[in-house]
Symmetry: C2
Subunit: 110 residues, 2 copies
Amino acid sequence: MKKAKKAKLEAAGWKIGSAEDFLDLTKEEVAFVDMKISLSDSVREKRRAKRLTQTQVAKKIGSSQSRVAKMESGDPSVSVDLMMKTLLTLGTTRSELAKIISKRKSRRAA
Amino acid sequence: MKKAKKAKLEAAGWKIGSAEDFLDLTKEEVAFVDMKISLSDSVREKRRAKRLTQTQVAKKIGSSQSRVAKMESGDPSVSVDLMMKTLLTLGTTRSELAKIISKRKSRRAA
DNA sequence: GCAGTATATGTCAAATCAGACATGTTCGCA
DNA sequence: TGCGAACATGTCTGATTTGACATATACTGC
């Protein structure tokens, strides 16, 4: 299974087994998961741009390194709320946030 | 206390007592709460534009009328996740969502 | 007045998400 | 090779958010 697809399903809260599972998400669910992935990527980008470690970010937002790692990996246990709060804490403006939300994922090479 | 201010504090999870409480939010907290208010307003606008009752929206998103009411009133118990899922279900596109996020609140008459 | 419909508000148990911690992996460097 | 730093992953317990329900309020037409 393609990595992006896997990430989407997992972000939606599903576990991918060894069998060829297939679950169709509604259009809205796909949009929501895509958005979460955009936010997730942006957290990593913002953090790197500011040359901070996950531990340093964790301290800023009053959380832990593992939760920051989960944010960046698109773990389904992370809410949009938390990622947005994190981005804002990292100095992202509302209009930058808007760009992140609207951003279509550029297809990455698998 | 101004209504908008009250809404912000409440949306941030604080109860306003009778005494002249004052809690200063950080810049990021204010931005986050503003954003939630924008989303909240948008849920109501979108629903009305589609001429749906709260009960009908609740059914669409698999929730209850009371939760939709809370979304629209900016209740602090409502997450950004839920409001975004709702907006997407109501046909909002990601780029429209982006506009909502970036939107500065126009000052309402108190 | 009284129904009926729409929305608001408060509460609760169950589900989800949180921070914390342990531990595993990966990388660079001496 | 071994060490240390950064990051990933799994899992606890507690906090927050959830849908559901009861109930209140507001407005309509009769």
